[in-house]
Subunit: 139 residues, 6 copies
């Protein structure tokens, strides 16, 4: 087994809030992250896949193939967007880094199987001080 | 003369657009940065001041004093905010990194004079690939 | 399970030495790290906790709660201090990065249980070239 | 168990290609990485070892000992070299980051045993966007 | 005046040597950088331009226009190439970071004039420890 | 003119205080930086020199020569030391980043003249948020 990690970046707006709650309650729980007019981040996304090495190429997976899928399924949908309003796979969810990471995992998992590649970890860095790692439902 | 640089960070949403223009024209000029539902950044701000060393303290300026001013005048107003909607000193301006840097200069300049400190440079890093430096009107 | 990592920083002095040993022996084993007048580092600390997502908030843990504990139990005690002389939880220990990481784990573990959060990893970066990870006694 | 990571760097030229294939096929599979006149990287290598703490020293392993082995067995052989032409342990192999990481593991494994230290992970960062991790044959 | 900096990256092989000199003399002067089979770097290039702000757009220059020129004139010619063998504008020159920076300046200067933009600085980072800045012939 | 920058690092302990002042006054002015038992930093030092390119070598200055001087005159004296107690060129001075930067300039200036190289800037980074630049007495 060998693990390959690809870094991608996207710049997006979001807001943490629960529409069933008052502004006061939202502020109590989410603090300044619940600002009604949104705020935003330069998100950094690390996608780690694992597999055996293809002896023909010396690759676990051709990075061009991995990149193409990640761009089409994730980056094109979230970059320069509002994560609450513009992104189909975040509809109805709180846009915490935790939920974004899990949603990205679920979007990517199937398509990576199609190229014989197993997803190992989604790491999402929201700021230099805060990041999330997710290894799938059974881990 | 010695130069001291303080780094501060803020996370904000913004949108590049001119309200006199159609969405199409905005998209042609500003591309995905004109997304109507906003996007955002982890902005990194470097404030450089210059001056002579105070022989008593070995400081150009006490960082606590500089930080207090930068927090009160800038960071508290832009962090976790929408630069187009929430920030008084950006009202009516296109929120390009250039305009944000100049506006921050203008906000800080006077208050730094009050603590006998001369502003030298505002550097604003919008993404790891793009940044702006401003040295004041006469430079 | 999802993993959340918080980065904190502290600047501290320390010295590697064993008081039972001569200066020569200390120098042979610890090299310049045994300088009698101390040296110091900008330590970078990564605290990783794990847990299930709270469906109400989308959080594993509210970062404000985690931060408050880490500040009170660790950062306030080690930042701008001498790790050998000023820090209760390092008393009588060699202040190697290994021992600091383990001591931080032991300080934090219980308090995190109190907020229903499980400590997963303490990573301590001493210089850009050297770092330590600790996953608890049973890992 | 505690994990210690040492960072080392080396600057090397390489080319991805299979000599049995035509230039066209090489270009189709490896893209610009198959440029016949080579290209190169500032590789960043993270060596993670694990073990129990030596109570005498507070160390898993004395970094001086680890560094000496990594320099002699790896860095001196790959730094400012051509990975395809100059490096004995890459002879006959495609110089993908995957294969380099595995070869470094195999070079280091035995010598670390000699200093009572167990190799845990070889991480090789080829560019800021691409990296490889290897944990040995049985992991 | 406001200054805008764009970061670009390229991975290239090179060798420092003077063909009139013996291998011994080349090694004495250039050390391991004269390895006959080349070595390589992840070069990081910072292009700084200066100008007045266009009041219509809030931009010194549209980054898309700057990027297009830098890609066509520089990055496409040097990325995944051998700087000694493959790059027209380095022909006959020693490929020191100094000479690469000056050559990039000379390649870009005219084309930037065409888009009403003045080149201010070329910064070339060869390793995390070594970098070059060039401000043009008259500075 | 071309500018070359070399990065070096040193880890040191220090304390900000004035012996003529009470502990209270020291704490009022210098805050936690006046901790009597010291604290410390991973200092990052950027030495920028300027000059014309030597046509024989393509270098402003051979980095090996610059490195040797910086190591002998600065790094060997400050690395893993106490800046207040162990460093001759800081004797009797407050060890603020400002004063350290100026002292390093004064130590290096003459020796660089000896190798026909002009010192341009000393940049000293004390933490990721605070840094100092000094360009000599007349700038």
């Amino acid at each position: 087994m060998i693990y390959l990690t690809r870094r991608e970046r996207f710049n997006a707006a979001h807001r943490l809030f629960k529409k069933e709650w008052s502004d006061e309650k939202n502020f109590t729980v989410f603090g300044k992250c619940s600002n009604p007019n949104w705020h935003g981040h330069n998100y950094v996304l690390f996608i780690t896949v694992k597999g055996e090495i293809d002896e023909e190429t010396g690759f676990v997976i051709n990075l061009k193939d991995l990149s193409k899928i990640v761009r089409a399924k994730i980056i094109d949908k979230v970059d320069h967007r509002n994560l609450n309003l513009d992104v189909d796979f975040m509809k109805g969810k709180i846009t915490s880094a935790e939920n974004i990471a899990i949603a990205i995992w679920e979007e990517l998992e199937k398509d990576l199987v199609a190229i014989k590649c197993e997803l190992h970890c989604i790491k999402l860095v929201e700021t230099e001080n805060n990041s999330i790692e997710y290894y799938g439902k059974n881990n």
